[in-house]
């Protein structure tokens, strides 16, 4: 599936998909759900919640 096709399915711009792939943007829960739905898989199979990053106080 191309970035353009996925963007069209989930209703976002291609740039958003590019930034998601590069890990430069954290999607909203709705977008994460829509993307996993587009691939017919669970959210946790597409996105990984990195606990170490969240626990780092420099990220707040």
């Amino acid at each position: 599936m191309t970035q353009d096709a996925l963007a069209k399915i989930v209703g976002v711009r291609r740039e958003t998909i590019v930034f998601l792939e590069k890990g430069k943007y954290n999607p909203s829960l709705k977008l994460a759900y829509d993307i996993s739905k587009a691939f017919h898989v669970k959210i946790e199979e597409v996105f990984i919640f990195d606990q170490d990053i969240r626990e780092d106080p420099r990220n707040y």
Partner: protein
Amino acid sequence: MKKSIFIIILSVVVVLTIAVWFFKTYSFEDVQDLLLYPIILIILTWGLFIGISRIRSQRKGQPPEDEFSRKVMRKASSISFYVSIYAWLILSYIDDHVQFETHSVIGLGILVMVIIFVGFWTIFRFWGIRDE
């Protein structure tokens, strides 16, 4: 890839041609004029970039703006507002020491605010927003 390089080269040639034409046509009396026109050109280019990217998205059947672009706009707005307060503070300090006309100070302040906003928007748009 080749198409994007061609567009960049063409844009640089157009901007340089306009710059050369500007410098030959107008005689700049002070530094303020020298700074003002490139800044206006940057702001216009930024506006053009946003407009073109929105049209391109619409043509592809994608929304002109989405959650990422809205978040970039929101974050750039909030941080540039915060930074602009300090910019006005510096400007008022300079105004105490160098005599400017009131409308020049206000104009310069607004221009600085726009530059700060465009700067932050560019950073978030091209570097992304992590951990939010």
